[in-house]
Symmetry: C2
Subunit: 241 residues, 2 copies
Amino acid sequence: MFCSQIMSANIQYNCGEDCHIRSSSIFKHLTNEDLDKLNFDKKSESYKRGTVLYHEGSRINGCYCIQKGIIKVYKTGVDGKEQIIRFAKHGDLIGFRSVLSKELACTTAKVLEDAFVCHIPAQTFIELIKNNGTFSLELLQLACRELGEANAYITDIAQKTVRERLAEILIHLKNEFGLDDHKILQISLTREELANIVGTATESVIRLLSEFKHDKLIDLNGRKIAVLNEAALIRIANLYE
Amino acid sequence: MFCSQIMSANIQYNCGEDCHIRSSSIFKHLTNEDLDKLNFDKKSESYKRGTVLYHEGSRINGCYCIQKGIIKVYKTGVDGKEQIIRFAKHGDLIGFRSVLSKELACTTAKVLEDAFVCHIPAQTFIELIKNNGTFSLELLQLACRELGEANAYITDIAQKTVRERLAEILIHLKNEFGLDDHKILQISLTREELANIVGTATESVIRLLSEFKHDKLIDLNGRKIAVLNEAALIRIANLYE
DNA sequence: CGGTACGTTGAGTCATATCAACCATAGTGG
DNA sequence: CCACTATGGTTGATATGACTCAACGTACCG
């Protein structure tokens, strides 16, 4: 099997029974037969920060299941400005959109935190969908959930101010990546990256973050952001009206 | 069968062989058996302008295949402002997102132009997915295409000016609904609705439309919008860079 | 004929973008 | 070891796109 790999951190990944593919919600209802096929066809690899898994506009020959690390998925807009669409982490599946719609990749996927990733060939993936109704239903549910989130984000960007959106993003990041003991957000982003999620200028993010810090909603220490007053941020973001 | 219905325009719809469900891309690979089941379970109905097919936040018990007319699909944002997510017309399928993700409807669907619509019960729909790999694959492809469009729109709204977005929307509407012999856009929207697609204020749309008219890019006559210079609009919109 | 919804225009304001300068840090190569 | 460069962060000044508010016009409808 292709699956034994050594991470830089010396963690051994055995991609048979223990592999994340098994416990990840999207794969968990596969039959043993399907699972064997999948484990045989997939390729696991580790990637350093900065590596690009696939480029916007390129043909894509499979999708990626993230075991470890963080991947930044973004589109390049007018005059090269990147718009971050999502982050993928532990258990997430990316690239399936382009595989299924048979279009060229409409996003770029770049490693933010050293990652360990399984690559599933397009053919294997499509066979799986055709032959396993439960699997395809779950995948559909995943796609539909993402679609719902995308629609919600469209509404937010179209209607909310930068200030509201920044507060909202901080809450989202907190929910997705969590805080450590010191309430520090467990994802490290540059100010520019934050701006590229919110859809604003770097300087605006900096000014608003200082404002939030001044109001004791957050604390700042370089890229470390501590979330001190979640309730107030939620109020600012107009979330859960 | 439930399927014989009379439209206000006195057009008879026979939903067996002739029904749109057969020719619509998403249903065209169904087996005769599946098709019989579908035709038996579905309910066709005509709706007047202004009718709501389903409300945001309500439970939804099936999805809708549009045979005729135009449906406006929108989310309600902060302080009640509507954000139009898409329009559905002849051959389009809506509501499947909420059916599959088993969440409450995250949008409202309202009739813009008198419509004739088939309702497919959730259970029938889900069975179809589970039992027919080709169908579920095509549905997945549909969802993925919509997801790609949503991501592109996020990037646009986040990065482009209102002027660019309005030009882009005019092009999109032209591609989706076409022009008549007088180059008039074949969908009738209020200025407010245009604003609610673009994500701006009604007054801004009015001012920009007059500007486009002054520059001979479009012509205006009430809600009738004639697209005179598509190339220039595309340039303004920064499309196809 | 009054009512309601939609469209238009002008004036003033404000949030946010843009531009420019500067600092801190870290890595690079001579 | 020290300039040198690149990258990221910060702040201030200025410009402006877009929103808001308000008034008014228009058209249709019962």
